[in-house]
Amino acid sequence: MSGSRSVLSGGKAYLYILPILILSGIFLYYSIGFTVYTSFHQWNGIDSQMKYIGFDNYKKLFDDTTYHIALKNNLIFLVCTVFIQAALGLLLAVLLRAKLFGNNFFKSVFFIPVVMAPVIIAAIFRIIMDTNFGSLNETLRALHLDFLAVSWLGDPKYALMSVIIVNIFQWMGFSMTMYYSGLLAIPDEIYESAKMDGSGFWRTLFRITVPLVGGTTSTLVVLGIVGSLKTFDIVALLTGGGPGRSTEFLTTYVYKKAIDEFNGGMSAAAGVTILVIAVVLAVVQLRLGNRQQNNH
């Protein structure tokens, strides 16, 4: 009797998750399946006919220098944004937790870019970072730092760094908020006893705060990895992947192959590799996170 009840309640539970299953089935799993299917075909993204070509798209993809550059750029972007963003976010959260005058105001200021549309942020930074009339270079020149007034978005040496800076500007507030809520869970007594023991700001930060917000860091790293692999809008709008291929990302590569070059098959193959990379990185990170937690 109890067995049939559990089957019944199990069935009912499945019914409750049916809507989200249908939703993700259509918009997520079907799309993934279609992308994988397309990646084995020659298709211009428009015609109703596709031609099966086996692994040809993947062979061409791994042979394409632009794809290699995109992978490298994505890796640099990932490492820089994930760690710098998290570090700055933690620093801001710690400072704002100190109940300074106007800290609510600053919390809002740092969080605003998170809710702003990337198209607005990119448009503003394109003006700020303009070589000749941008406020950044105007300021540098006014400070007699002319040698620093470079072409931020037009020089391949600085373009990727500029994109990273703008991305950090946009998402730093998110890390800050996550850490801030993590910090609220740490009892004040711990900080008070640390203070009584003569622990300074940096020592407290590294010996108490950082270990205690390990879970938040882990979450931010996973989100950062996936987020950086998905980054498209800010790059497309700031540099379009250029100059040359200097800021080409996997996503801009996917876009250019599909939309500019009408090569739906190769674009899908690149998309599949992004998915594989994201899954592998997320699994590795979660395993590492779990191991750390178990050790604690």
Binding site: P19, F133, G240, P243, K256, D260, F262
Partner: protein, 448 residues
Amino acid sequence: MRTKKWQWALTGVVAASLVVSACGNSNNNAGGESSPSGTAPASGGKQETITFWSWVPTDIQSKKVIEAFEAANPDIKVEYWRGEQTDFQKKLQVAIGAGEGPDLMGMQVGGMLNQYANMLEPIQPLADEKWGAGWEEKFVPSSIDQVKSKDGSMVALPLNLTGQEFVLYNKAIFDKVGITEVPKTYEEWKQVNAKISEAGIVPVAMGAKDTWHDVDMFVALSNQFAPGQVYEAEQGKVPFTDQAFVDTMNAWKQLFTDKVFQDGALGLSTYPDARDQYFYSGKAAMFLTGSWHVGFGLPGGEKEGTAIENDATGMFLLPQIGPNPSKAVASVDTALAINKNSEHKEAAWKLLEFLTMGEGQQIMADFIQGSPSKIGVEVQTLDQFKFDSEKEAVGVVNQEIAGAIGKRLLDYPELNNAIGIAMQDVAAGKDVEAALKEVQKVSEGIAR
């Protein structure tokens, strides 16, 4: 118990609505099941709505031209969506790929038209039926060739023609610094630029972030070194590592090293960056753009409301940099095509006819967005220009387009991308030969 029933009912409704919404759209304007001749009645009391997507007409232009069409065809309502070309390409590709899309659409000749050809209604039989044999002679001959796909079938009609590479200049700035003649050679151009620089003004604004614009420069410039050779290379008959292209790339590089283009040109898009932040703000004296900008000084045009609203402007052809005279390269700017899956082909044809052969062609010609594709259509709005130099520029541009050395747009999108990237790399300091080798590699991979 009652609550449980409610929960069951609610879950069922949500699930059912999701299934219905997911499946319900499949028959919307799609399916390719419409009658092959597209004989949906365009009259008969009930108003028929057709959709039209393009980048030209612009918003101001579309208001006038569509109003005129609807007044002449009260049984047809046009829902027009306009986007910048890149946005338009994205939207169209997704819609057509899903078997949907507008009834009538803008089409760029060359690569785009070839890719879409299978999804477009063949135009020749329709035009033969409606206009009778010999109708092609009413259009500029080169424009008719360009609306045919690779297999020779005609899938669009030309709205207008535009050319590259032109320089839009601020005559007020030229006058202020004492320049009386527009530059015709590279040396003259550099001298003019030096004078303008002395006055603290940026001489030339170039949006080299856009690969399309870089490719336009490549096609125009290479024709100064070896006329016509770029089209041979496009078809794989000449390698891109040929000396003519090495010279072209070196000349392009020189435009950066000689500081003809403003610092940071590679990080600036043509529109809106270079146009708005530099030229329209009065901070730059010249702006590299296409012939489509020649009518920007007309009342209601783009110039209104900018900082240079009261400055006289003009347009001249890219100065001669190579050994051969500078010539324009011109293509059909906007071709118009009917969706093969449209259920309103007859009404879409009426709009297509209105724009290419009818009153719409004159309205568009008067906006001077491009040169008319129909022979005999004369611009009637020249007197509306505030400045003589702007009026004269129309004559200059039309003359150059008439004497164009070849087409502006190349046939293969991957080749365009490769050339654009190679040009940016060269401008940023990459070795010319190495960059051209990469273009050649892409060219060799194209199935022609």
